[in-house]
Symmetry: C2
Subunit: 265 residues, 2 copies
Protein backbone atom coordinates (compact mmCIF):
# COMPACT_ATOMS: atom_id res chain seq x y z
CA UNK A 1 0.00 0.00 0.00
CA UNK A 2 1.47 3.31 -1.16
CA UNK A 3 1.10 5.57 1.89
CA UNK A 4 1.35 9.32 1.36
CA UNK A 5 1.21 11.91 4.14
CA UNK A 6 -0.17 15.22 2.91
CA UNK A 7 1.44 17.79 5.12
CA UNK A 8 2.32 21.42 5.61
CA UNK A 9 2.17 23.05 9.03
CA UNK A 10 1.16 26.34 7.41
CA UNK A 11 -2.58 26.50 7.71
CA UNK A 12 -5.10 26.90 4.91
CA UNK A 13 -2.84 25.91 2.00
CA UNK A 14 -4.98 23.15 0.47
CA UNK A 15 -4.11 19.93 2.36
CA UNK A 16 -7.66 18.73 2.92
CA UNK A 17 -8.78 19.78 -0.55
CA UNK A 18 -5.85 17.82 -2.02
CA UNK A 19 -6.53 14.62 -0.07
CA UNK A 20 -10.29 14.63 -0.71
CA UNK A 21 -10.05 15.30 -4.44
CA UNK A 22 -6.90 13.36 -5.33
CA UNK A 23 -8.17 10.30 -3.48
CA UNK A 24 -11.53 10.59 -5.23
CA UNK A 25 -9.82 10.80 -8.63
CA UNK A 26 -7.67 7.74 -7.83
CA UNK A 27 -10.78 5.82 -6.70
CA UNK A 28 -12.64 6.77 -9.89
CA UNK A 29 -9.64 5.48 -11.86
CA UNK A 30 -10.12 2.14 -10.17
CA UNK A 31 -7.53 2.24 -7.40
CA UNK A 32 -8.60 1.05 -3.95
CA UNK A 33 -7.96 4.04 -1.69
CA UNK A 34 -8.00 4.61 2.07
CA UNK A 35 -7.91 8.18 3.45
CA UNK A 36 -7.20 9.02 7.09
CA UNK A 37 -8.44 12.17 8.79
CA UNK A 38 -5.79 12.95 11.39
CA UNK A 39 -6.85 16.56 11.86
CA UNK A 40 -8.98 17.34 14.94
CA UNK A 41 -10.80 19.90 12.79
CA UNK A 42 -12.23 16.83 10.95
CA UNK A 43 -12.41 18.76 7.70
CA UNK A 44 -11.68 15.74 5.49
CA UNK A 45 -14.53 13.91 7.20
CA UNK A 46 -16.85 16.87 6.53
CA UNK A 47 -15.61 17.29 2.97
CA UNK A 48 -16.56 13.68 2.19
CA UNK A 49 -20.06 14.22 3.57
CA UNK A 50 -19.73 12.52 6.97
CA UNK A 51 -20.92 14.33 10.09
CA UNK A 52 -18.11 14.22 12.73
CA UNK A 53 -20.65 14.26 15.58
CA UNK A 54 -22.08 11.01 14.22
CA UNK A 55 -18.68 9.30 14.40
CA UNK A 56 -18.54 7.25 17.59
CA UNK A 57 -14.93 6.05 17.30
CA UNK A 58 -12.80 6.95 14.32
CA UNK A 59 -9.19 8.07 14.39
CA UNK A 60 -9.28 8.75 18.13
CA UNK A 61 -10.16 5.14 18.96
CA UNK A 62 -7.51 3.77 16.65
CA UNK A 63 -4.79 6.06 18.03
CA UNK A 64 -5.65 6.12 21.73
CA UNK A 65 -7.68 2.98 22.43
CA UNK A 66 -5.94 0.61 20.01
CA UNK A 67 -9.21 -0.26 18.27
CA UNK A 68 -8.43 -2.18 15.07
CA UNK A 69 -8.37 0.02 11.98
CA UNK A 70 -10.72 -2.21 9.98
CA UNK A 71 -13.43 -1.71 12.61
CA UNK A 72 -13.32 2.07 12.28
CA UNK A 73 -13.04 2.69 8.56
CA UNK A 74 -16.11 3.34 6.43
CA UNK A 75 -16.73 3.19 2.71
CA UNK A 76 -17.72 6.68 1.55
CA UNK A 77 -17.55 6.21 -2.25
CA UNK A 78 -16.87 3.24 -4.49
CA UNK A 79 -13.20 2.25 -3.93
CA UNK A 80 -12.81 5.02 -1.31
CA UNK A 81 -12.69 4.33 2.43
CA UNK A 82 -12.33 6.87 5.23
CA UNK A 83 -11.01 6.73 8.79
CA UNK A 84 -13.10 9.64 10.11
CA UNK A 85 -12.21 12.14 12.83
CA UNK A 86 -14.33 13.73 15.51
CA UNK A 87 -13.89 16.29 18.28
CA UNK A 88 -12.24 13.72 20.60
CA UNK A 89 -9.15 13.90 18.43
CA UNK A 90 -8.50 17.35 19.95
CA UNK A 91 -7.27 15.63 23.10
CA UNK A 92 -5.22 13.00 21.28
CA UNK A 93 -1.97 14.97 21.08
CA UNK A 94 -1.79 15.23 24.88
CA UNK A 95 -2.91 11.64 25.43
CA UNK A 96 -0.40 10.28 22.93
CA UNK A 97 2.43 12.00 24.77
CA UNK A 98 2.09 9.53 27.64
CA UNK A 99 2.02 6.32 25.57
CA UNK A 100 5.02 4.07 24.81
CA UNK A 101 6.06 4.03 21.11
CA UNK A 102 3.79 7.03 20.70
CA UNK A 103 5.19 7.93 17.27
CA UNK A 104 4.55 4.57 15.62
CA UNK A 105 1.02 3.76 16.78
CA UNK A 106 -0.49 4.59 13.40
CA UNK A 107 2.14 2.59 11.47
CA UNK A 108 1.22 -0.54 13.39
CA UNK A 109 -2.51 0.12 13.09
CA UNK A 110 -2.20 0.40 9.31
CA UNK A 111 -0.38 -2.92 8.93
CA UNK A 112 -3.66 -4.78 9.47
CA UNK A 113 -5.32 -3.20 6.42
CA UNK A 114 -2.35 -2.64 4.10
CA UNK A 115 -3.29 -5.62 1.94
CA UNK A 116 -6.74 -4.27 1.14
CA UNK A 117 -5.73 -0.96 -0.41
CA UNK A 118 -3.38 0.33 -3.12
CA UNK A 119 -3.22 3.91 -1.78
CA UNK A 120 -3.46 5.47 1.64
CA UNK A 121 -3.51 9.29 1.90
CA UNK A 122 -3.30 10.98 5.28
CA UNK A 123 -4.71 14.47 5.89
CA UNK A 124 -2.76 16.24 8.64
CA UNK A 125 -3.70 19.36 10.56
CA UNK A 126 -1.64 22.56 10.54
CA UNK A 127 0.96 21.43 13.09
CA UNK A 128 4.07 19.29 13.52
CA UNK A 129 2.85 17.56 16.67
CA UNK A 130 2.44 13.88 17.57
CA UNK A 131 -0.48 13.22 15.21
CA UNK A 132 1.60 14.50 12.31
CA UNK A 133 4.66 12.54 13.48
CA UNK A 134 2.51 9.41 13.43
CA UNK A 135 1.57 10.16 9.84
CA UNK A 136 5.24 10.65 8.91
CA UNK A 137 6.21 7.37 10.60
CA UNK A 138 3.49 5.46 8.79
CA UNK A 139 4.07 6.93 5.33
CA UNK A 140 6.67 6.19 2.66
CA UNK A 141 6.10 9.51 0.90
CA UNK A 142 5.17 13.06 1.74
CA UNK A 143 3.21 15.30 -0.62
CA UNK A 144 3.57 18.97 0.36
CA UNK A 145 0.75 21.29 -0.74
CA UNK A 146 2.12 24.79 -0.89
CA UNK A 147 0.41 28.08 -1.51
CA UNK A 148 2.79 30.08 -3.75
CA UNK A 149 2.98 32.99 -1.31
CA UNK A 150 5.98 34.41 0.51
CA UNK A 151 4.65 33.74 4.06
CA UNK A 152 3.78 30.18 3.08
CA UNK A 153 7.42 29.63 2.10
CA UNK A 154 8.76 30.56 5.52
CA UNK A 155 8.04 27.28 7.25
CA UNK A 156 9.18 25.15 4.32
CA UNK A 157 12.68 24.68 5.73
CA UNK A 158 11.37 23.61 9.11
CA UNK A 159 9.00 21.15 7.45
CA UNK A 160 11.88 19.55 5.53
CA UNK A 161 13.97 19.36 8.71
CA UNK A 162 11.15 17.55 10.51
CA UNK A 163 10.82 15.06 7.63
CA UNK A 164 14.59 14.51 7.65
CA UNK A 165 14.53 13.87 11.42
CA UNK A 166 11.77 11.29 11.05
CA UNK A 167 13.67 9.71 8.16
CA UNK A 168 16.81 9.34 10.32
CA UNK A 169 15.23 8.28 13.58
CA UNK A 170 11.95 6.45 12.95
CA UNK A 171 11.30 5.81 9.26
CA UNK A 172 14.37 5.50 7.00
CA UNK A 173 12.27 5.01 3.90
CA UNK A 174 10.44 8.32 4.18
CA UNK A 175 10.97 10.71 1.27
CA UNK A 176 9.37 13.81 -0.14
CA UNK A 177 7.47 12.70 -3.25
CA UNK A 178 6.62 16.16 -4.45
CA UNK A 179 5.46 19.69 -3.90
CA UNK A 180 2.02 20.60 -5.17
CA UNK A 181 1.41 24.31 -5.77
CA UNK A 182 -2.16 25.10 -4.74
CA UNK A 183 -4.40 28.13 -5.09
CA UNK A 184 -2.26 29.18 -8.02
CA UNK A 185 -3.34 32.57 -9.31
CA UNK A 186 -1.78 32.64 -12.78
CA UNK A 187 -2.52 36.33 -13.34
CA UNK A 188 0.10 37.40 -10.77
CA UNK A 189 3.89 37.12 -10.91
CA UNK A 190 4.33 36.00 -7.28
CA UNK A 191 3.48 32.33 -7.92
CA UNK A 192 6.05 32.14 -10.72
CA UNK A 193 8.70 33.65 -8.45
CA UNK A 194 7.90 31.28 -5.59
CA UNK A 195 7.91 28.32 -7.98
CA UNK A 196 11.32 29.33 -9.30
CA UNK A 197 12.61 29.69 -5.72
CA UNK A 198 11.48 26.19 -4.77
CA UNK A 199 12.79 24.62 -7.97
CA UNK A 200 16.25 26.09 -7.55
CA UNK A 201 16.31 25.01 -3.89
CA UNK A 202 15.41 21.45 -4.93
CA UNK A 203 17.90 21.47 -7.82
CA UNK A 204 20.67 22.23 -5.29
CA UNK A 205 19.52 19.30 -3.17
CA UNK A 206 19.99 16.69 -5.88
CA UNK A 207 22.34 13.95 -4.72
CA UNK A 208 22.47 15.36 -1.18
CA UNK A 209 21.13 12.16 0.35
CA UNK A 210 18.40 14.07 2.18
CA UNK A 211 14.76 12.97 2.27
CA UNK A 212 14.01 15.60 -0.39
CA UNK A 213 16.97 14.93 -2.70
CA UNK A 214 14.67 13.53 -5.40
CA UNK A 215 11.69 15.78 -4.78
CA UNK A 216 10.27 17.97 -7.51
CA UNK A 217 7.50 20.46 -7.96
CA UNK A 218 4.65 18.56 -9.60
CA UNK A 219 4.22 19.52 -13.26
CA UNK A 220 0.55 20.16 -12.46
CA UNK A 221 -0.52 22.99 -10.18
CA UNK A 222 -3.97 23.61 -8.72
CA UNK A 223 -5.47 26.82 -10.05
CA UNK A 224 -7.48 29.00 -7.71
CA UNK A 225 -11.11 28.05 -8.30
CA UNK A 226 -13.99 29.00 -6.01
CA UNK A 227 -15.79 25.73 -6.87
CA UNK A 228 -13.17 23.89 -4.81
CA UNK A 229 -14.33 25.94 -1.82
CA UNK A 230 -18.03 25.37 -2.60
CA UNK A 231 -17.88 21.58 -2.94
CA UNK A 232 -17.23 20.79 0.76
CA UNK A 233 -20.44 22.55 1.81
CA UNK A 234 -22.36 19.84 -0.07
CA UNK A 235 -20.17 17.03 1.26
CA UNK A 236 -19.01 16.41 -2.31
CA UNK A 237 -15.68 16.03 -4.02
CA UNK A 238 -14.97 18.40 -6.88
CA UNK A 239 -15.41 15.48 -9.31
CA UNK A 240 -19.02 15.15 -8.18
CA UNK A 241 -19.76 18.84 -7.70
CA UNK A 242 -18.46 20.14 -11.03
CA UNK A 243 -16.55 17.53 -13.00
CA UNK A 244 -15.73 19.92 -15.88
CA UNK A 245 -14.24 22.79 -13.85
CA UNK A 246 -10.55 23.68 -13.52
CA UNK A 247 -10.40 22.19 -10.02
CA UNK A 248 -11.61 18.79 -11.20
CA UNK A 249 -9.24 18.83 -14.16
CA UNK A 250 -6.26 19.78 -11.99
CA UNK A 251 -6.89 17.09 -9.40
CA UNK A 252 -7.38 14.43 -12.08
CA UNK A 253 -3.92 15.43 -13.29
CA UNK A 254 -2.49 14.98 -9.78
CA UNK A 255 -3.98 11.48 -9.64
CA UNK A 256 -2.50 10.75 -13.09
CA UNK A 257 0.91 11.94 -11.86
CA UNK A 258 0.74 9.59 -8.88
CA UNK A 259 -0.34 6.65 -11.04
CA UNK A 260 2.49 7.40 -13.48
CA UNK A 261 5.04 7.24 -10.64
CA UNK A 262 3.84 3.98 -9.12
CA UNK A 263 6.84 2.00 -10.35
CA UNK A 264 9.18 4.38 -8.53
CA UNK A 265 7.74 3.25 -5.26
CA UNK B 1 -4.58 50.45 26.29
CA UNK B 2 -7.16 48.84 24.02
CA UNK B 3 -5.95 45.24 23.67
CA UNK B 4 -7.28 43.18 20.78
CA UNK B 5 -6.46 39.50 20.18
CA UNK B 6 -6.66 38.63 16.49
CA UNK B 7 -7.59 34.99 16.45
CA UNK B 8 -8.96 32.10 14.44
CA UNK B 9 -7.59 28.59 14.85
CA UNK B 10 -8.27 27.90 11.16
CA UNK B 11 -4.99 28.48 9.43
CA UNK B 12 -4.27 30.86 6.60
CA UNK B 13 -7.33 33.10 6.96
CA UNK B 14 -5.59 36.49 7.23
CA UNK B 15 -4.68 36.94 10.92
CA UNK B 16 -1.10 38.11 10.39
CA UNK B 17 -2.04 40.24 7.39
CA UNK B 18 -4.76 41.89 9.50
CA UNK B 19 -2.51 42.67 12.48
CA UNK B 20 0.37 44.00 10.37
CA UNK B 21 -1.74 46.26 8.18
CA UNK B 22 -4.39 47.42 10.65
CA UNK B 23 -1.71 48.29 13.20
CA UNK B 24 0.24 50.17 10.54
CA UNK B 25 -2.86 52.15 9.54
CA UNK B 26 -3.59 53.02 13.19
CA UNK B 27 0.03 54.12 13.67
CA UNK B 28 -0.12 56.31 10.54
CA UNK B 29 -3.31 57.87 11.94
CA UNK B 30 -1.30 58.89 15.00
CA UNK B 31 -2.22 56.17 17.48
CA UNK B 32 0.59 54.64 19.55
CA UNK B 33 0.42 50.94 18.76
CA UNK B 34 2.10 47.81 20.15
CA UNK B 35 1.84 44.50 18.27
CA UNK B 36 2.76 41.13 19.76
CA UNK B 37 3.87 38.17 17.69
CA UNK B 38 2.65 35.14 19.64
CA UNK B 39 2.93 32.73 16.72
CA UNK B 40 6.00 30.47 16.65
CA UNK B 41 5.95 30.84 12.86
CA UNK B 42 7.02 34.48 13.53
CA UNK B 43 5.17 35.68 10.45
CA UNK B 44 4.22 39.05 11.94
CA UNK B 45 7.90 39.62 12.75
CA UNK B 46 8.85 38.78 9.16
CA UNK B 47 6.00 40.83 7.69
CA UNK B 48 7.30 43.92 9.51
CA UNK B 49 10.80 43.39 8.15
CA UNK B 50 12.51 41.88 11.19
CA UNK B 51 14.59 38.70 10.83
CA UNK B 52 13.48 36.20 13.54
CA UNK B 53 16.96 34.67 13.69
CA UNK B 54 18.30 38.08 14.74
CA UNK B 55 15.90 38.25 17.69
CA UNK B 56 17.76 37.17 20.81
CA UNK B 57 14.84 37.31 23.26
CA UNK B 58 11.42 38.44 22.15
CA UNK B 59 8.12 36.85 23.10
CA UNK B 60 9.81 33.68 24.36
CA UNK B 61 11.80 35.58 27.01
CA UNK B 62 8.77 37.55 28.13
CA UNK B 63 6.59 34.44 28.40
CA UNK B 64 9.04 31.89 29.77
CA UNK B 65 11.83 33.85 31.47
CA UNK B 66 9.75 36.74 32.82
CA UNK B 67 11.90 39.32 31.06
CA UNK B 68 10.19 42.71 31.28
CA UNK B 69 8.17 43.56 28.21
CA UNK B 70 9.75 46.99 27.74
CA UNK B 71 13.17 45.37 27.37
CA UNK B 72 12.03 43.18 24.50
CA UNK B 73 9.87 45.45 22.35
CA UNK B 74 11.35 47.31 19.38
CA UNK B 75 10.13 50.30 17.39
CA UNK B 76 9.63 49.14 13.79
CA UNK B 77 7.79 52.19 12.37
CA UNK B 78 6.86 55.59 13.77
CA UNK B 79 4.23 54.95 16.51
CA UNK B 80 4.49 51.16 15.94
CA UNK B 81 6.31 48.82 18.32
CA UNK B 82 6.74 45.06 18.00
CA UNK B 83 7.34 42.22 20.46
CA UNK B 84 9.05 39.90 17.98
CA UNK B 85 8.99 36.09 17.92
CA UNK B 86 11.68 33.59 17.04
CA UNK B 87 12.01 29.83 16.73
CA UNK B 88 12.32 29.36 20.52
CA UNK B 89 8.61 30.15 20.81
CA UNK B 90 7.95 26.70 19.34
CA UNK B 91 8.83 25.20 22.71
CA UNK B 92 6.84 27.73 24.71
CA UNK B 93 3.51 25.86 24.71
CA UNK B 94 5.10 22.86 26.45
CA UNK B 95 7.16 25.01 28.83
CA UNK B 96 4.16 27.15 29.80
CA UNK B 97 2.22 24.03 30.78
CA UNK B 98 4.44 23.59 33.83
CA UNK B 99 4.28 27.17 35.12
CA UNK B 100 1.89 28.47 37.81
CA UNK B 101 -0.72 30.94 36.53
CA UNK B 102 0.31 29.88 33.06
CA UNK B 103 -2.71 31.49 31.40
CA UNK B 104 -2.16 35.00 32.75
CA UNK B 105 1.58 35.47 32.24
CA UNK B 106 1.07 37.78 29.27
CA UNK B 107 -1.61 39.84 31.02
CA UNK B 108 0.81 40.66 33.84
CA UNK B 109 3.68 41.32 31.45
CA UNK B 110 1.57 43.86 29.53
CA UNK B 111 0.62 45.83 32.64
CA UNK B 112 4.10 47.38 32.73
CA UNK B 113 3.69 49.00 29.29
CA UNK B 114 -0.06 49.66 29.15
CA UNK B 115 0.42 53.37 29.83
CA UNK B 116 2.67 53.87 26.80
CA UNK B 117 0.29 52.68 24.08
CA UNK B 118 -3.28 53.30 22.95
CA UNK B 119 -3.62 50.00 21.05
CA UNK B 120 -2.17 46.54 21.46
CA UNK B 121 -2.89 43.94 18.77
CA UNK B 122 -1.88 40.30 19.29
CA UNK B 123 -1.22 37.96 16.33
CA UNK B 124 -1.99 34.37 17.32
CA UNK B 125 -1.02 31.20 15.52
CA UNK B 126 -3.54 28.67 14.14
CA UNK B 127 -4.28 26.94 17.45
CA UNK B 128 -6.21 27.25 20.70
CA UNK B 129 -3.28 26.33 22.93
CA UNK B 130 -1.63 28.12 25.87
CA UNK B 131 -0.11 30.95 23.83
CA UNK B 132 -3.54 31.77 22.46
CA UNK B 133 -5.13 31.45 25.90
CA UNK B 134 -2.60 33.99 27.16
CA UNK B 135 -3.67 36.37 24.42
CA UNK B 136 -7.34 35.89 25.35
CA UNK B 137 -6.59 36.50 29.02
CA UNK B 138 -4.70 39.69 28.27
CA UNK B 139 -7.16 41.15 25.77
CA UNK B 140 -10.45 42.98 26.23
CA UNK B 141 -11.59 42.29 22.66
CA UNK B 142 -11.24 39.63 20.03
CA UNK B 143 -11.20 40.38 16.31
CA UNK B 144 -11.90 37.23 14.27
CA UNK B 145 -10.58 37.21 10.68
CA UNK B 146 -12.65 34.77 8.70
CA UNK B 147 -12.25 33.51 5.18
CA UNK B 148 -15.80 33.33 3.75
CA UNK B 149 -15.48 29.64 2.89
CA UNK B 150 -17.50 26.69 4.15
CA UNK B 151 -14.54 24.84 5.76
CA UNK B 152 -13.43 28.03 7.49
CA UNK B 153 -16.87 28.26 9.14
CA UNK B 154 -16.61 24.83 10.77
CA UNK B 155 -14.41 25.82 13.67
CA UNK B 156 -16.26 29.07 14.32
CA UNK B 157 -18.47 27.56 17.02
CA UNK B 158 -15.49 26.04 18.82
CA UNK B 159 -13.69 29.38 18.71
CA UNK B 160 -16.66 31.16 20.29
CA UNK B 161 -16.89 28.44 22.96
CA UNK B 162 -13.23 28.94 23.85
CA UNK B 163 -13.71 32.71 24.10
CA UNK B 164 -16.78 32.17 26.30
CA UNK B 165 -14.80 29.84 28.57
CA UNK B 166 -12.02 32.41 28.99
CA UNK B 167 -14.64 35.09 29.65
CA UNK B 168 -16.21 32.99 32.44
CA UNK B 169 -13.07 31.64 34.06
CA UNK B 170 -10.16 34.04 33.57
CA UNK B 171 -11.19 37.30 31.93
CA UNK B 172 -14.78 38.45 32.50
CA UNK B 173 -14.37 41.53 30.35
CA UNK B 174 -13.44 39.63 27.19
CA UNK B 175 -15.81 40.11 24.28
CA UNK B 176 -15.87 39.55 20.55
CA UNK B 177 -15.45 42.97 18.95
CA UNK B 178 -16.13 41.87 15.43
CA UNK B 179 -15.69 39.45 12.56
CA UNK B 180 -13.58 40.61 9.63
CA UNK B 181 -14.23 38.82 6.34
CA UNK B 182 -10.88 38.40 4.58
CA UNK B 183 -9.86 37.23 1.09
CA UNK B 184 -13.32 38.22 -0.07
CA UNK B 185 -13.80 37.25 -3.72
CA UNK B 186 -16.77 39.37 -4.70
CA UNK B 187 -17.29 37.58 -8.05
CA UNK B 188 -18.52 34.42 -6.31
CA UNK B 189 -21.76 33.82 -4.41
CA UNK B 190 -20.15 31.77 -1.59
CA UNK B 191 -18.87 34.78 0.38
CA UNK B 192 -22.33 36.36 0.36
CA UNK B 193 -23.85 33.12 1.62
CA UNK B 194 -21.27 32.73 4.39
CA UNK B 195 -21.71 36.37 5.39
CA UNK B 196 -25.48 35.92 5.62
CA UNK B 197 -24.98 32.75 7.71
CA UNK B 198 -22.74 34.54 10.20
CA UNK B 199 -24.98 37.60 10.41
CA UNK B 200 -28.08 35.55 11.17
CA UNK B 201 -26.16 33.53 13.78
CA UNK B 202 -25.04 36.78 15.46
CA UNK B 203 -28.53 38.32 15.23
CA UNK B 204 -29.87 35.34 17.19
CA UNK B 205 -27.20 35.90 19.84
CA UNK B 206 -28.28 39.45 20.65
CA UNK B 207 -29.10 39.80 24.31
CA UNK B 208 -27.87 36.27 25.11
CA UNK B 209 -25.24 37.51 27.56
CA UNK B 210 -22.51 35.60 25.76
CA UNK B 211 -19.12 37.07 24.89
CA UNK B 212 -20.34 37.49 21.30
CA UNK B 213 -23.79 38.94 22.08
CA UNK B 214 -22.78 42.36 20.69
CA UNK B 215 -20.49 41.14 17.93
CA UNK B 216 -21.09 42.07 14.33
CA UNK B 217 -19.54 41.47 10.97
CA UNK B 218 -17.44 44.55 10.21
CA UNK B 219 -19.02 46.72 7.53
CA UNK B 220 -15.70 46.58 5.72
CA UNK B 221 -14.34 43.37 4.25
CA UNK B 222 -10.86 42.68 2.84
CA UNK B 223 -10.99 41.95 -0.86
CA UNK B 224 -8.69 39.30 -2.26
CA UNK B 225 -5.68 41.19 -3.55
CA UNK B 226 -2.37 39.58 -4.50
CA UNK B 227 -0.47 42.71 -3.39
CA UNK B 228 -1.29 41.77 0.22
CA UNK B 229 0.63 38.54 -0.38
CA UNK B 230 3.53 40.32 -2.09
CA UNK B 231 4.14 42.98 0.60
CA UNK B 232 5.52 40.60 3.28
CA UNK B 233 8.32 39.45 0.99
CA UNK B 234 9.70 43.01 1.15
CA UNK B 235 9.13 43.31 4.91
CA UNK B 236 6.62 46.05 4.15
CA UNK B 237 3.07 46.79 5.18
CA UNK B 238 0.55 47.21 2.37
CA UNK B 239 0.47 50.94 3.13
CA UNK B 240 4.15 51.17 2.21
CA UNK B 241 4.14 48.64 -0.61
CA UNK B 242 1.15 49.94 -2.58
CA UNK B 243 -0.80 52.62 -0.72
CA UNK B 244 -3.40 53.02 -3.49
CA UNK B 245 -4.38 49.36 -3.91
CA UNK B 246 -7.58 47.68 -2.65
CA UNK B 247 -5.71 46.03 0.23
CA UNK B 248 -4.42 49.35 1.58
CA UNK B 249 -7.85 50.95 1.20
CA UNK B 250 -9.59 48.05 2.99
CA UNK B 251 -7.18 48.01 5.93
CA UNK B 252 -7.41 51.78 6.34
CA UNK B 253 -11.17 51.22 6.65
CA UNK B 254 -10.62 48.63 9.37
CA UNK B 255 -8.47 51.09 11.30
CA UNK B 256 -11.17 53.74 10.86
CA UNK B 257 -13.77 51.30 12.19
CA UNK B 258 -11.67 50.66 15.30
CA UNK B 259 -11.08 54.37 15.88
CA UNK B 260 -14.82 55.04 15.49
CA UNK B 261 -15.61 52.47 18.20
CA UNK B 262 -13.10 53.68 20.76
CA UNK B 263 -15.79 55.18 23.00
CA UNK B 264 -17.50 51.79 23.26
CA UNK B 265 -14.50 50.42 25.04
N1 LIG C 1 -7.44 25.89 -5.48
C1 LIG C 1 -8.32 26.45 -4.63
N2 LIG C 1 -9.06 27.50 -5.03
C2 LIG C 1 -9.94 28.10 -4.19
N3 LIG C 1 -10.16 27.72 -2.93
C3 LIG C 1 -9.47 26.68 -2.47
C4 LIG C 1 -8.52 25.97 -3.27
N4 LIG C 1 -7.99 24.96 -2.54
C5 LIG C 1 -8.57 25.04 -1.32
N5 LIG C 1 -9.48 26.05 -1.28
C6 LIG C 1 -10.26 26.53 -0.13
O1 LIG C 1 -9.34 27.23 0.70
C7 LIG C 1 -9.54 26.88 2.07
C8 LIG C 1 -8.28 26.20 2.60
O2 LIG C 1 -8.12 24.94 1.99
P1 LIG C 1 -7.97 23.61 2.88
O3 LIG C 1 -8.95 23.63 3.99
O4 LIG C 1 -7.95 22.45 1.96
O5 LIG C 1 -6.50 23.87 3.44
P2 LIG C 1 -5.78 23.07 4.61
O6 LIG C 1 -4.33 23.21 4.35
O7 LIG C 1 -6.33 21.70 4.70
O8 LIG C 1 -6.19 23.91 5.90
P3 LIG C 1 -5.88 23.51 7.44
O9 LIG C 1 -4.46 23.91 7.65
O10 LIG C 1 -6.85 24.34 8.23
O11 LIG C 1 -6.11 22.05 7.56
C9 LIG C 1 -10.78 26.00 2.09
O12 LIG C 1 -11.90 26.81 2.36
C10 LIG C 1 -10.84 25.40 0.69
O13 LIG C 1 -12.16 25.13 0.33
N1 LIG D 1 -6.93 39.67 1.14
C1 LIG D 1 -5.92 38.88 0.73
N2 LIG D 1 -5.74 38.69 -0.59
C2 LIG D 1 -4.73 37.89 -1.05
N3 LIG D 1 -3.85 37.26 -0.25
C3 LIG D 1 -3.99 37.43 1.07
C4 LIG D 1 -5.00 38.25 1.64
N4 LIG D 1 -4.87 38.22 2.99
C5 LIG D 1 -3.82 37.42 3.26
N5 LIG D 1 -3.27 36.95 2.10
C6 LIG D 1 -2.18 35.99 1.95
O1 LIG D 1 -2.72 34.71 2.27
C7 LIG D 1 -1.82 33.98 3.09
C8 LIG D 1 -2.48 33.73 4.45
O2 LIG D 1 -2.62 34.94 5.16
P1 LIG D 1 -2.02 35.10 6.64
O3 LIG D 1 -0.66 34.51 6.69
O4 LIG D 1 -2.20 36.51 7.04
O5 LIG D 1 -3.04 34.19 7.41
P2 LIG D 1 -2.94 33.67 8.91
O6 LIG D 1 -4.31 33.44 9.37
O7 LIG D 1 -2.10 34.61 9.69
O8 LIG D 1 -2.15 32.28 8.73
P3 LIG D 1 -1.60 31.34 9.92
O9 LIG D 1 -2.81 30.61 10.40
O10 LIG D 1 -0.60 30.45 9.25
O11 LIG D 1 -1.02 32.24 10.95
C9 LIG D 1 -0.55 34.81 3.18
O12 LIG D 1 0.34 34.37 2.18
C10 LIG D 1 -1.04 36.23 2.90
O13 LIG D 1 -0.03 37.00 2.30
MG1 LIG E 1 -7.16 20.73 6.36
MG1 LIG F 1 -0.38 34.17 10.82
Amino acid sequence: MRTIAVLNQKGGVGKTTTVANTAAALAMAGRRVLVLDLDPQAHLTIHLGVEPAAVSGGAYHVMIQATPMDQQIMMVRPNLWLLPANIHLVGAEAELAGLPERETILRHALEAVAGHFEYCMIDCGPSLGLLTLNALSAAQEVLIPLQPHFLALQGFGQLLQTIELVNRRINPGLKVAGILLCMYDSRASLPQEVKADIESFLANARGSGTAWADAQVLPTHIRRNIKLAEAPSYGKTILEYDPACNGAEDYRQVAAYLMATEHVQ
